[in-house]
């Protein structure tokens, strides 16, 4: 009697903690029925992962600000800025690791600025990162004089196109980043501090956690992830485009929240964010396949996201 209750409880906990996967399964099921032959083709599924790699990697980084109770709206612009630098590096024929390094450094730098103002300057995260959103976009356009940067060598372009063991390289990078972020966020001391800060900053502080430093680092990690995403995006586009990435931050945040993280901080799981990214990807891919009118797509996308989270939160309170 008691045992079966415990089983039920545990099941409830699992459903609660991993509800993103239920939404994902529901969407996959719906698409399989409606458009099974083309949707379930392995190339299509691989495509979805590749398409979501950029947003997904940004989302992984944004988890740190969100879990610690902040937010980061600069992702979309920073991905453009880092992309521009990556493209300049590629055009200068620098080797791939150096291209990554440059994009990561630029991303980290934006994170340093965000983190400084937020953690040490008490500027609300929304404002600081909104300011960065504006500034990074302006900087990307200024540097490139509003033009694309072209002329890439082949090896670099292959990041965007080639596959390895059946999975595109972009997807591999996504998976790798997910594992790294999982380890940092859910397995290290630092990650626990981030959860603690999001849950109760005062408690974290009196437990001897350096709240400011941890928050600061969170924005830097978000910047680094965006840098990685920028390289993937640049390789996929074969050019550095200063106006790319518009509103990516919204999609990234949506992934994190669809994955069940709370805006008030203190919760969120990496694997669920990955599911969140796939949910968004399948939604867009599915609507394209079903040939839904693009304006109607906006309506449907908005409605599906809200209703998914709605059903999810209902299930939780029950």
């Amino acid at each position: 009697m008691k045992k079966s209750l415990a089983m039920k409880d545990r099941l409830q906990v699992v459903i609660k903690e991993y509800s993103a996967i239920l939404i994902l399964l529901a969407l996959v099921l719906a698409m399989s029925i409606l458009k099974g032959d083309s949707f379930l083709k392995s190339t299509n599924l691989v495509n979805i992962i590749r398409q979501q790699a950029v947003i997904g990697i940004i989302a992984l980084g944004i988890m740190f600000p969100i879990v610690s109770g902040g937010t980061d709206l600069s992702g979309g612009s920073v991905v453009a800025l880092c992309g521009v630098f990556a493209a300049l590096a590629v055009r200068a024929e620098l080797p791939i690791p150096l291209v990554f390094l440059i994009a990561i450094v630029i991303g980290a730098l934006t994170g340093v600025i965000n983190g400084f103002f937020i953690a040490y300057g008490n500027v609300p995260a929304f404002i600081a990162t909104l300011g960065m959103m504006s500034a990074a976009r302006g900087a990307a356009l200024l540097i490139t004089d509003s033009k694309n940067i072209n002329g890439f060598y082949d090896a670099f372009e292959s990041i965007g196109t080639d596959s390895f063991l059946g999975l595109p390289i972009a997807a591999w990078i996504f998976v790798l980043m997910a594992i790294i972020i999982y380890i940092i966020l859910e397995r290290t001391k630092y990650g626990t501090s981030i959860y603690a800060i999001g849950g109760n900053a005062t408690a974290a502080k009196v437990s001897g956690i350096n709240v400011r430093l941890c928050n600061f680092m969170g924005y830097v990690i978000a910047g680094i992830c965006t840098g990685v995403a920028a390289v993937v995006l640049t390789a996929r586009m074969r050019s550095g485009n200063p106006s790319v990435g518009n509103a990516y931050e919204m999609d990234a945040i949506t992934c994190v929240i669809l994955g069940g993280a709370s805006f008030s901080g203190g919760s969120g799981k990496v694997v669920n964010t990955v599911f969140g990214a796939l949910i968004l990807g399948i939604l867009v891919n599915g609507m394209t396949m079903l040939q839904i009118d693009s304006n109607l797509q906006s309506v449907v996308k908005g409605a599906v996201i809200v209703i998914a989270v709605f059903l999810d939160s209902r299930k939780r309170t029950d």
Binding site: Q51, I55, E157, R236, R238, G281
Partner: protein, 302 residues
């Protein structure tokens, strides 16, 4: 080998649902469906589709985002369609899309920007349009004077092409001076605020050259508010609204960007390719609209 992928061959290879319908499927994707001019292209696309009941045209919105446009076309490739017409969000990215489209044996019609591997090109040259527009403005103010420029959204292809053309025409006329330049984001409301501010800040100009009609109309509204009526205002698009402003004299001139041409020529090419033909490239001309010939263009809308 993929070059010759004809409609007949393809239809036998297609998955069942497409084959059963036995229709030629063309994917038509634009940079942003919500752009006023692009939406009128789409109207013509729909008109063309009505005239060709045996062809299915799917419209895909790039939403001004490269990844979105890539994802749309990748979805089509999975569906196994016959031809893709693509007006790119980003030129370089369109080359990567082109590669995957060709690799899947699908025909590719490039719109507005030519690409080497494309099966066919249909489009106008934005630089030329910009140049012609600025030249017409310079002529309208008698070869010398002060000109202000309202640019489209920074970083977009069309905006930079048109501005590039306009500026080269301006440089060729030493009598003319650029007194102000601002990014109006293609939007009427931004243009209103910008021109209001120009006026109050005491910038004087004989002409405002705007990269699209919406911004030109915004400029006109701000000028009217300030009681100024001797400024030459020029736009590009030549849609109904713009033509009406030309007709009643508020707008000096605009350029008719051939929406119908872009829709029809590209779809015709895509269809021909799907049937195994080898259509010629089409270069569309953007045509000057002024008071003298505006009725011709207004007639398009009645």
């Amino acid at each position: 080998s993929s070059d010759g992928a004809s409609g007949n061959d393809a239809s036998t290879d297609l998955p069942q649902d497409e084959a059963a319908e036995d229709k030629i499927v063309i994917g038509y994707t634009v940079n942003d469906l919500n752009d006023t001019w692009v939406s009128s292209v789409i109207d013509y696309v729909e008109q063309w589709a009505d005239e060709h009941p045996d062809v299915e045209v799917i419209i895909g919105d790039g939403k001004s985002d490269v990844s979105t446009q890539m994802a749309v076309v990748e979805g089509w490739i999975e569906m196994g369609i016959d031809s893709v017409c693509l007006k790119p969000v980003d030129y370089e990215a369109s080359l990567s899309i082109l590669d995957s489209v060709k690799a899947a044996g699908i025909n590719y019609v490039a719109m507005q920007q030519d690409a080497e591997d494309a099966d066919c090109f249909v489009g106008a040259n934005g630089v030329e349009t910009g140049e012609a527009q600025m030249q017409a403005v310079i002529d309208a103010i008698g070869g010398s004077g002060k000109i202000a420029y309202l640019a489209g959204t920074e970083g977009t292809l069309v905006a930079s092409e048109r501005e590039e053309g306009s500026m080269s025409a301006l440089e060729a006329s030493p009598e003319c001076e650029l007194v102000a330049r601002e990014d109006g984001d293609w939007l009427r409301e931004d243009a209103i605020s910008i021109v209001e501010t120009w006026i109050t800040s005491g910038i004087e100009f004989d002409a405002i050259c705007a990269a699209c009609d919406e911004m030109a109309i915004g400029a006109i509204l701000a000028l009217q508010d300030a009681g100024i009526d001797d400024v030459v205002v020029a736009g590009i698009d030549g849609l109904q609204m713009g033509c009406e402003y030309v007709k009643n004299g508020d707008m000096t001139l605009t350029f008719y960007a051939d929406a119908k041409g872009l829709a029809y020529e590209s779809l015709d090419a895509a269809l021909a390719l799907a049937k195994g033909g080898q259509p010629e490239d089409v270069v569309l001309k953007d045509l000057l609209v002024n008071r003298d010939n505006v009725d011709e263009y207004l007639a398009l809308w009645s």
